[in-house]
């Protein structure tokens, strides 16, 4: 046993906290299972709601995806996304990204990981990748279950566009996949905010709640039309830009802009998170 070794035999900083290990640490958590269950059950709740409520037609002349929800499986999946993109899908993203570091601090397991030692940047990177992967899985789960359940309930057919016209089922399914990706990307800003707060506070609820709160503030600001073009710089403004591809002639401009805005906020907030955690005194 030579005492001049810089590290224990077999230790490599780049092998610490592999993604598989971090995923295993997070996967069996109750909140993970609850989120998964809620998202998997939600489509069935919607199907039940449509079955009980029947079809009421559109309200006050405005057309929305809900009017054509039961037209086909893809319609139903699109509707499920439409009703959940504003809030239901924001919660898991904020939860997975906001809780990831703060919960470890709360359990005191953070200091043992850091003393293992897992280099701080590597720890954050592993946690971030796993949190985003979980978020992606959550966001993808809902439309997948909705598509499957909707196809069983309403059949596999073309997407009926509320304003008229149809999209072939194959095209519509591909567009739904793109939409799902966009919904995730559009929530990167929320994810990054939660992640940053997670490195700042030891209270998981503070990080998740803070991110949700600011996201809601963004939504409120977006409702103030007097802000005019300033709203273009709110991630919430582009939240539903994906509706642009549910028409015969898909429009990607809004989604590109939304992606730009969301990614910009995310990059800065992620950097703030890394910067803060890098130099932080861990006292939890």
């Amino acid at each position: 046993m030579s005492t001049a070794l810089e590290s224990a035999p077999g230790y490599r900083a780049r092998r610490t906290l592999p993604l598989r290990v971090e995923a295993a640490r997070q996967l069996r958590r109750r909140r993970t299972l609850v989120v998964g269950a809620v998202l998997a059950v939600l489509p069935f709740v919607l199907i039940a709601a449509f079955a009980i409520g029947g079809h009421d037609g559109s309200r006050d002349g405005r057309v929305s995806l809900i009017d054509t929800a039961t037209a086909s499986g893809v319609n139903f999946a699109a509707t499920a996304l439409f009703v959940s993109a504003g809030f239901v899908l924001v919660v898991p993203v904020a939860l997975f990204c906001g809780d990831t570091v703060a919960a470890e601090a709360g359990w005191s397991s953070l200091r043992y990981l850091l003393a293992a030692p897992v280099p701080r940047t590597r720890l954050l990177l592993s946690k971030l990748v796993v949190a985003l992967a979980f978020s992606a899985a959550a966001v993808a789960l809902l439309p997948l279950v909705a598509l499957a359940a909707g196809t069983v309930a309403y059949g596999w057919g073309p997407l009926h566009i509320p304003t008229g016209g149809t999209l072939p089922a194959g095209t519509a399914a591909a567009r739904l996949a793109a939409i799902t990706g966009y919904v995730l990307v559009s929530q990167l800003a929320t994810a990054a905010l939660a992640f940053w707060l997670s490195t700042v506070t030891d209270a998981p609820l503070g990080a998740v709640g803070g991110a949700m709160g600011l996201t809601i503030v963004g939504n409120v600001l977006d409702a103030i039309t007097a802000l005019g073009h300033w709203r273009d710089f709110l991630p919430a403004h582009w939240q539903y830009a994906w509706a642009d591809v549910l028409q015969p002639q898909a429009e990607w401009g809004g989604m590109i802009k939304g992606t730009a805005v969301s990614a910009s906020y995310a990059v800065v907030l992620f950097a703030l998170g890394f910067r803060h955690f890098r130099g932080k005194d861990v006292v939890s």
């Binding site: 610490t16 640490r25 005191s108 850091l114 293992a116 809004g254």
Partner: protein, 907 residues
Amino acid sequence: MKLPRITVRRPGRGRLAAVVAALAVLAGAGTWGVAASASGPPAVHREDRFLTMPESPGSKATVRLDTSFFTAGSTGRRPAVLLAHGFGGSKDELRGQAEELARDGYAVLTWSARGFGASTGRIGLNAPDAEVADVSRLIDWLAKRPEVRLDKPGDPRVGIAGASYGGALALLAAGYDKRVDAIAPQITYWNLADALFPGDVFKKLWSGIFFTTGSTAASAPAGGSASNSGRKGAVGTGCGRFQPELCAMYQRVAVAGRPDAQARQLLEQRSPSAVAGRIRVPALIVQGQSDSLFPLDQADQAAGAISRNHAPVAVDWVAGGHDTGYGEQDRIGRRARAWFDRYLKDDRSADTGPVFRVSRTGGLDTTAGKPQLRGASDRSYPGLRNDPRPIALTGREQRFANPAGAGPPAVSTLPGLGGASQLSGLGLGVSLDFPGQYAHFDSARLKEGVHVTGAPVARVKVASDSGEAVLFAKVYDVGPDGRQRLPGQLVAPVRVTDARDGRVVELRLPAVDHTFEAGHRMRLVLAATDLGYASPVQPATYTVSLAGGGLSVPTAPGVRTGSSALPWWTWGMPLGAVAVAAALLLTGRRRSAAPAAPDPRPAEVPLQITGLTKRYAKSADRYAVQDLSFRVERGQVLGLLGPNGAGKTTTLRMLMGLIRPDGGEIRVFGHAIRPGAPVLSRVGAFVEGSGFLPHLSGRANLDLYWRATGRPAEDAHLDEALEIAGLGSALDRAVRTYSQGMRQRLAIAQAMLGLPDLLILDEPTNGLDPPQIREMREVMIRYAAAGRTVIVSSHLLAEVEQSCTHLVVMDRGRLVTAGPVAEITGAGDTLLVGVEGEVSEVLAEKVAALPGVGSAVPAETGLLVRLDGASTAQLLAELVRLEVPVSSVGPHRRLEDAFLTLIGGSA
């Protein structure tokens, strides 16, 4: 925008800089926006005046034109631009545009044309000796202005722009007055007769709107009403401010329901086409794709004629038009400015844009709530019959009726009710054909999409039992689901005469820019009626069949769609964000206390702490640890002793790289400790309680922890560790069900995973029962005996003295003493002498003065005595001699008391 001045305190500098940087990006666009408006555009100076013109050249009668002259900025001479308004408007609608041009360095003249606004006179529909002559008088006036640049005396550098009625005036003025240097006519006509009487069919709805607008304008202004009312009787009612011959022509045609040669001639004389050979100036021709009043072929003829005169021409097909409103005015305004910059200011760097550009409607942008437009362009103008492709149509001969009274009419467009056709781009337009009143011929489903740019052509044979047929030809785009839409909501009317026995005619269909997708069909429809046009009121039966192939559709493969117009920030914002993120990550690194190369000399030393200092957060002079130095050798079991708050845990946290010292250095096996230092992998630690994932079992926790270290599984020595934990079957239960002691043992086991060379245990016996405590001591002693090193922190002297070889005693962040256990505890055995009743200071002093006693201090329940030579028996004898009511004598090891003695002894 100015940032508030912020005084930055030393420790916060990095963080504040980060926040400011982040805000700067988030507010980035705003900062520039504010800066632009703060610098302020130059004020625009406006002069309003009436100019008097002869009513016609040489006549005594005059008209007065209401004009505004706009200039801005410097006093030098500049090119001039005349802005002409549309039909029914006045100079007022041009004010914003004029001010913008003025700020751009032009002298701008706007005026209300004859019969409009506050100007007097009669509407002559751009008559050469009236409205067009007025423009020459205005140019004369401009030539005398000191602000206006002259090409030669009396000839100013001047361009004309205008839309619709004003656009035609621009074309006409360029034809009649050689002094005009460039024009930018928009959505206007080339031949008004063709526009109002296409295919010799009267466009009754648009013409009606046109003439009614001119007539009702009469009642409003005061200026001309007196002279008008005088002649009103001569021209009949409802003529308003129109010239009598125009009014009579309109009324004649409207009553007859069909144009006559005289009417055509009257309108053609006043159309730009009359001076086709004389328009030789650079022309930017803008035309609308949803314009059933002045369709694209009007612009096509204008562009062709001016090109033949060898003048530069650019053609721009915008979305919208007279039917729907004109939604691209901002872009066209910029383009017209660039056009004038190039041809009036001679600025060769000005980008006049592509020779041909067409706005293509994409889908709806739901966020903005309007359809997306994107430009497609080419370096040459393809015209309306470029690269034609045959599309076969099928359909037998069909008979259909022209209903008596021409009603109910088919619907293609609703002039003025723009909304309906605006939706056509989205497949939502209103179009309607009545069964039995039309014939249709369909293509097969298209194997590949066809983008039609221009006017399709078809040959059909038409017969009418009345000898004459008026047909409305249109090409529908029929989707796979059978829904049909009419591109541009446009129809091409045609009058076929001498058709009793059938005549083959070539139909020229409306010019459009439209993609027929693969799987769609083209459907040629010939209808007997259309809401917008006058068709024969006599009932008739038409028979129509295809005469040859089918449709010949023009394409323009050279016209390429550019990247969609995304605002600059779509790319700029992420780039800026990446820059800010990089700045955030690259700056504000705390000085990393240059971890000098490992010192070979103390490489054998498991732990060397030198001058270690840590202040409390946000404090300049309160120290958690101050100037701490000690050293631990191999094989030692070191007790780190001190009361709560002595700085033990802070020291251990610094040792684990969790917090950074403010000063001093920690070296483990010669390597300086910083966060994540690899040498920490040789250190096992249990500090301040356990830290486990509560939802996982003890075994899973240890397993995942070891896997998180990234080291080989066989190095973990898991079984040895588990033996120490001694959890038995509880190991497979979730940690949240564990008691405090179980967690404690599991945490110690975790610290021992991999048998680290340096093991740190912070209060390891908290929550353990006595047998476990004893076992733990043995574990530590055995562990160090194998050549490893153990550091145990505790606030109980009794605990550490039984297992430790060496002690470091701390109090309030400072080192009190360090050395072998025997040296510290053996230097004076401390006894607690239980005394009944109060112990006075005097008594303590007396005892302290006894021979062989180091110190004596009163304690809560008696007297603390440190022996210095005397034995317990001797002391007891002396106490009895002093008549102290001794109730008990025993060793006392509570640390607080040991401290009292240590401190008392040194005092």
